[in-house]
């Protein structure tokens, strides 16, 4: 029995990926098709169509199969993990995932290296903070799609005062009305910043200290719930008065309820980046490069961000939006085009190696399970 069980071990995921890495792209030709996996509501839309995709097809003759299949990094990774581990192509030539998952997939050899000679618009038009990021040095595997800020959202009418720091989420006055995030990196990183820890040099002891604070916050009955995407509904329903939040969501919510505010904590907020990347052995890698290059034209970037309201990696889009009728508020919003003083308050997640990730996850899990 034991021998039989032993025979079905799970092979090291990164080792068998190494051999694939040097194989290069599957083709150097444009095939005329692009299978693009993205998150819901993450591209401009008008009259039931996506203008950017139509413009792209007109300009390049490449048909786009656009699929809004990504609900969360974890679950999407779960669905593509097996074929990628076996070296098989997945159904998509282009995917959009968050920076830390880019780092993991790069380590595992699950992503194709980008050919930057085909990405002239990125080199010319991307903002400086989007080049050579800590999670993907030299933009080897990825270039940004949109980014956003993790900070605090609060309902000014219900709190009766402004929130400026993560410590406000520990105020017993609002016991049972505070939301936190199930996303380990967001919650832990904001807490580390509150404690004055530089994220890149955070140690396991720092995270243990954060864990104690979070456990205490639960014990004191301050936290109502640890939320995923559904925090936005809870905020809109007034089940909670303040929560950790993502900038783009709050911009949408304030349209319905002007009392809702988003703030980058004085202790520091997180700038996260969702990136375009090409999965290993994708069938249409050159078509994917064409698209990545296409969206880095300032007018196309403006068209996308004008609708999705996250942070655009192309600074020149701001001027174009300011001159477009009806888009002045977006162009002037510091949550879409952060001001320089806001940028000084923004930090990036620490890039965790696998052991660290597991240790941090274990500590955070103990908070989540109560």
């Amino acid at each position: 029995m034991a021998a039989f069980l032993a025979s079905c071990g799970i092979e090291g995921q990164s080792q068998d990926a190494d051999s694939e890495e040097n194989a290069g792209l599957t083709t150097d030709q444009v095939n005329g098709t692009l299978n693009f996996a993205n998150w819901p509501l993450y591209i401009d839309r008008a009259k039931g169509e996506n203008p950017t995709l139509i413009d792209f097809t007109e300009a390049t003759d490449i048909e786009v199969n656009y699929d809004e299949v990504i609900q969360a990094n974890d679950s999407f990774f779960g669905t593509i993990r097996e074929p990628l581990a076996n070296g098989d192509p997945i159904d998509y030539d282009l995917i959009v995932v968050t920076d830390w998952l880019i780092a993991r997939m790069g380590r595992l050899g699950y992503l194709e290296e980008l050919d930057h000679s085909k990405l002239g618009n990125f080199d010319a038009n991307a903002g400086a903070i989007y080049k050579d990021p800590n999670y993907d040095p030299g933009n080897t595997y990825s270039i940004p799609w949109q980014s956003g800020i993790t900070g605090i959202a609060y309902n000014r009418a219900l709190t009766g005062r402004d929130f400026t720091s993560m410590s406000d989420l520990f105020d017993t006055e609002f016991a049972g009305k505070i939301g936190m995030f199930t996303e380990m990196r967001d919650t832990i990183s904001l807490m580390l910043l509150l404690n004055g820890v530089e994220l890149d040099s955070a140690t396991i002891e720092d995270v243990e200290e954060v864990q104690q604070q979070l456990l205490q916050q639960v014990d004191d009955g301050i936290v109502r719930q640890y939320y995923g995407n559904e925090y936005a509904d809870a905020l809109a329903r007034e089940d909670i008065v303040a929560t950790i939040a993502w900038s783009g969501d709050v911009i949408q919510l304030t349209l319905d309820n002007p009392d809702l505010r988003f703030v980058v904590p004085d202790d520091g907020g997180i700038l996260w980046v969702d990136n375009m990347a090409i999965p290993q052995n994708a069938v249409n890698p050159i078509d994917a490069h064409e698209f990545m290059n296409f969206v880095y034209q300032p007018d196309i970037a403006a068209q996308i961000v004008g609708w999705v309201n996250y942070i655009c990696p192309v600074p020149d889009a701001q001027e174009i939006l300011a001159d477009t009728k009806g888009y002045k508020p977006v162009a002037e919003s510091p949550l879409v085009f952060p001001t320089p003083e806001m940028e000084t308050k923004l930090h990036r997640y620490k890039v965790l190696d696998e052991d660290e990730e597991q240790e941090w996850n274990d500590l955070f899990q103990q908070v989540l399970q109560g």
Partner: protein, 255 residues
């Protein structure tokens, strides 16, 4: 299943690979770390089973005995909400039970409940969601058992001078036992492993073992721990069901 059994005896990491060691460590460690969640899930499952039994028994008894020609209509009404998918129904409860939602908001405005009453993110909401979602699994087997009951047996009982109360306990209830047994299994097993209700209606303090297993597999990529916990849960349920079957003596009932 063999893969899962094998995985539960492995050690290692996702990127470095998992190797078989044959140690019980995953079991002992994960049980020590998550015993609260395991006991909580078993307790919730028990409460849900008893509650669905108490709610559905009078309901289907009435339909089966007093339903007359409209039996099928009543049964349809009972099942109608369950034509909507599981998740949608649970999400709907989230809207209904919101602090200032359609239910609590109106009650608070009328001054019938305290201003700070909260149902969402409590164990009450999770148990309510579970009971609601698993009600048909108890009601239908019970209905089948009561429907099939031969009414001449009850006539015979009253001919033999039994009161209606005696007839119920000596005839109806014993003959309904196969339905109670099947219904209990169909309710208890899935509600112990459920994670949707705890995820949507609960909070940190209502985390069930299903949530833990889901997180181990999806977020932490710790397959050995997830597998070990799944096995603990499975064995726990098997033992429970076995004891339950022994106590009820199903051979007599179903055979």
């Amino acid at each position: 299943m063999f893969t899962m059994l094998s995985t539960s005896f492995q050690e290692g990491t996702f990127e470095g690979g998992f190797t078989f060691t044959g140690h019980w460590q995953n079991y002992t460690e994960s049980f020590a770390a998550f015993d609260t969640q395991i006991y909580r899930s078993l307790l919730y499952g028990l409460i849900v089973t008893v509650a669905t039994l108490l709610i559905s028994f009078p309901m289907v008894y009435w339909i089966a005995f007093r339903g007359g020609r409209r039996k099928n209509l009543y049964l349809l009404l009972l099942l109608l909400p369950f034509f909507t998918p599981f998740i949608i129904r649970t999400l709907a409860w989230k809207q209904i039970l919101a602090d200032n939602g359609i239910l609590l908001g109106s009650l608070k405005n009328a001054g019938l409940v305290p201003e700070d009453l909260q149902l969402l993110a409590t164990s009450t909401a999770v148990l309510g969601g579970l009971i609601y979602n698993f009600l048909p699994f108890m009601a239908l087997p019970l209905y089948v058992a009561l429907e099939r009951l031969d009414h001449s047996l009850l006539d015979a009982a009253s001919d033999l001078y039994s009161t209606r109360r005696q007839a119920f306990f000596k005839v109806t209830l014993p003959l309904a036992m196969p339905g109670v047994f099947a219904g209990s299994l169909l309710t208890f097993i899935p509600s112990v492993g459920d994670f949707i209700n705890a995820e949507l209606l609960g909070s940190v303090n209502t985390t069930m073992i299903g949530n833990v297993i889901q997180r181990e597999f999806q977020t932490n990529l710790d397959f050995p721990t997830g597998s070990a916990l799944s096995f603990v849960l499975m064995i726990g349920i098997l033992v429970g069901v076995f004891l339950y079957a022994r106590a009820l003596g199903t051979e007599d009932l179903t055979g």
